[in-house]
């Protein structure tokens, strides 16, 4: 146990929201009144935190981000579409100059300690600008702009910008472009339906692994990777449960194999370097990939006019798997204090239950009865889900030691 009477080492203060600081002070006063800690200890705890005097999402930030987005799109459109008197080389030069101005301008603003939202807006323009440069160069040289390769290059450039400057805007642009490219590239080679399940499932494994690897030191990036992992896991399981999706089996292509290997390597790295409860995240995502692929490969027939025992079994197991995934994400959201995961899981469950109910019952139950059956299924699932969520939250609250969440937040 720590000797609280010894001189405290110099500690850096951690920024928290005014709301959190107010809560902490109330609790400290309560603990002091009950003799749990003395006044000196309460004062020392309080000095470890400072109020960050702005909310995470302010109106100003939203407007700056929106403005930067509109200006970026508008400039690209203006140069690419309307200035037809410019030669392709001149158009490329104009776009490149704008990109370089935004890139350098953003970093100059950052070095001068300008307002973070303003710096973020400039960096967002630079991240969109590099995409504009890539696509303008491609257009000027007649490179087909509908290929996923260019999107992948844009994602790589924006992510590099985000990581080297530790800034959120380029990172989010890169993450979004990267997720789309990750799904699109293997589909470009072989547009088979089960490939969608495999690449989105593998994307979830990669993102979950990166979230765990980013927990220490890059909490914002970890949050984003975790959100992407949860979203892709829900989509993969949803797609896998669509009847007949795997009737063609798995068609292996170079890109599909590459993505599987990359996701596997990331999961291995996460498990080997985080040998505690956090390793459950990449392992859980891997389980989702395996279960989703198995469900996808289980083809029970595509005749929508008759529903046999195999169809009922397929639907029941799909629903059970989806509920387990949703509960798992809610548990993760509770442990990590990551509300987006909880909301995504609940929304996903609503959409999934509705879809499955229509897919299974619609051929045999029609009209008003379909809504009665759907409502009943919905109520039952919702009741069980809510009960499981409450019990999980209670169990985790009582079981979780103070350090469980640790630096992960």
């Amino acid at each position: 146990m720590t000797d609280t009477s010894s001189p405290a080492p110099s500690l850096t203060t951690r920024p928290v929201s005014p709301h959190q600081l107010a809560w902490l002070r109330t609790e400290l006063a309560d603990w002091t009144a009950h003799g749990i800690i003395d006044d000196e200890q309460a004062a020392r705890i309080a000095t470890r935190y400072r109020s960050e005097h702005h909310s995470r999402i302010s109106t100003g930030r939203v407007l700056l981000a929106l403005g930067a987005g509109f200006v970026g799109v508008g400039l690209i459109w203006l140069v690419a579409a309307n200035l037809d008197a410019l030669s392709p080389l001149t158009r490329f030069a104009v776009i490149a100059a704008l990109w370089l101005a935004f890139l350098v301008g953003g970093e100059v603003l950052a070095s001068r300690k300008a307002s973070r939202p303003v710096v973020g807006a400039a960096r967002l323009l630079a991240a969109m600008g590099v995409g504009a440069v890539i696509f303008q160069a491609a257009q000027s040289l007649q490179v087909p702009a509908y290929e996923p390769r260019l999107l992948g290059l844009w994602a790589a450039g924006a992510l590099l910008h985000g990581y080297l400057t530790r800034s959120g805007m380029p990172f989010f642009v890169g993450l979004l472009a990267g997720v789309v490219w990750w799904i699109w590239q293997p589909m470009w080679d072989e547009p088979h339906s089960l490939t969608v399940v495999l690449v989105i499932g593998a994307g979830s494994v990669l993102a979950a692994s990166l979230a765990v690897l980013h927990d220490e030191g890059l909490a914002t990036y970890a949050w984003a990777w975790r959100t992407a992992a949860g979203g892709m896991a829900l989509v993969a399981m949803f797609a896998a449960a669509i009847p007949g999706i795997g009737s063609d089996g798995i068609v292996w292509t170079t890109w599909l194999v590459v993505e599987m290997v990359v996701a596997g390597a990331a999961a291995l790295a996460a498990v080997l370097t985080r040998r505690d409860r956090r390793a459950l995240e990449p392992l859980g995502a891997t389980a989702v990939l395996v279960v989703a692929t198995t469900i996808g490969l289980w083809t029970t027939g595509t005749d929508t006019t008759s529903v046999d025992a195999a169809d009922w079994g397929h639907a029941a197991i799909s629903v059970a798997a989806y509920v387990v995934l949703a509960v798992g994400l809610v548990a993760l959201g509770t442990v990590r204090d990551h509300q987006a995961l909880t909301w995504m899981a609940m929304a996903g469950l609503v959409v999934f239950t509705t879809f499955q109910s229509f897919a299974v019952f619609a051929p045999i139950v029609t009209g008003a009865w379909l809504f009665v059956v759907l409502g009943t299924v919905f109520l039952g699932t919702g009741f069980l889900f809510d009960r499981a969520r409450r019990e999980l939250a209670q169990a985790l609250d009582t079981d979780s030691p103070a350090g469980t969440e640790g630096a992960a937040r």
């Binding site: 690419a80 410019l86 080679d189």
Partner: protein, 165 residues
């Protein structure tokens, strides 16, 4: 990392990514050999890109189909969209498509194309012109013209000129 160094690394790396994106067409322009191909107009102006003349190649069309909306080279209609290679042979001073294949030919000249969209495209289907020159070019194309292509040894192609034969 020093902010100036980081900014420099970002700028140089992103420009390198741009180069990777256009490497096939750069390679065609820099290392390619010149081939003349008969060309016909489709649509003088692309509304999203300004004064781009959309080009049609009667001698590079598979199956004799016509292009009314968008330039292309027909389709293979084998149900397996992907890479397409058009072997070129010379006939009366211009080059024409001889064979359409899914496998890369052992030797050239050939065009490396793609039919993942609804028809075969080889990256030579449009050509930029200033607005003022677009009408003259349209007349030239109606009278019959040839496109000067640069094609490298991997089949990457680029249009460098359109002129009277």
């Amino acid at each position: 990392m020093n902010r100036i160094a980081a900014t420099g690394i970002i700028a140089v790396s992103q420009l390198a990514l741009v180069t990777v994106g256009v490497a096939p067409q750069l390679s065609a322009r820099v290392t390619g050999e010149t081939y003349l191909v008969r060309v016909a107009p489709v649509d003088p102006i692309d509304p999203f890109r300004g004064a781009y003349v959309a080009l049609d190649y009667p001698d590079l069309r598979h199956g004799g189909s016509q292009s009314f909306v968008e330039p292309g080279h027909g389709s293979l209609e084998d149900g397996e969209p992907g890479d397409v290679y058009i072997t070129l042979v010379e006939e009366d001073g211009v080059w024409i498509g001889e064979e359409w294949s899914r496998t890369r030919p052992d030797d050239g000249p050939y065009l490396a194309c793609d039919d993942r969209s609804w028809q075969v495209r080889c990256g030579i289907e449009s050509w930029f012109l200033p607005q003022d020159d677009a009408q003259d070019a349209e007349q030239l194309l109606r009278d019959g013209a040839v496109a000067e292509l640069r094609v490298d040894d991997r089949g990457n192609a680029a249009v460098v000129d359109v002129r009277a034969p």
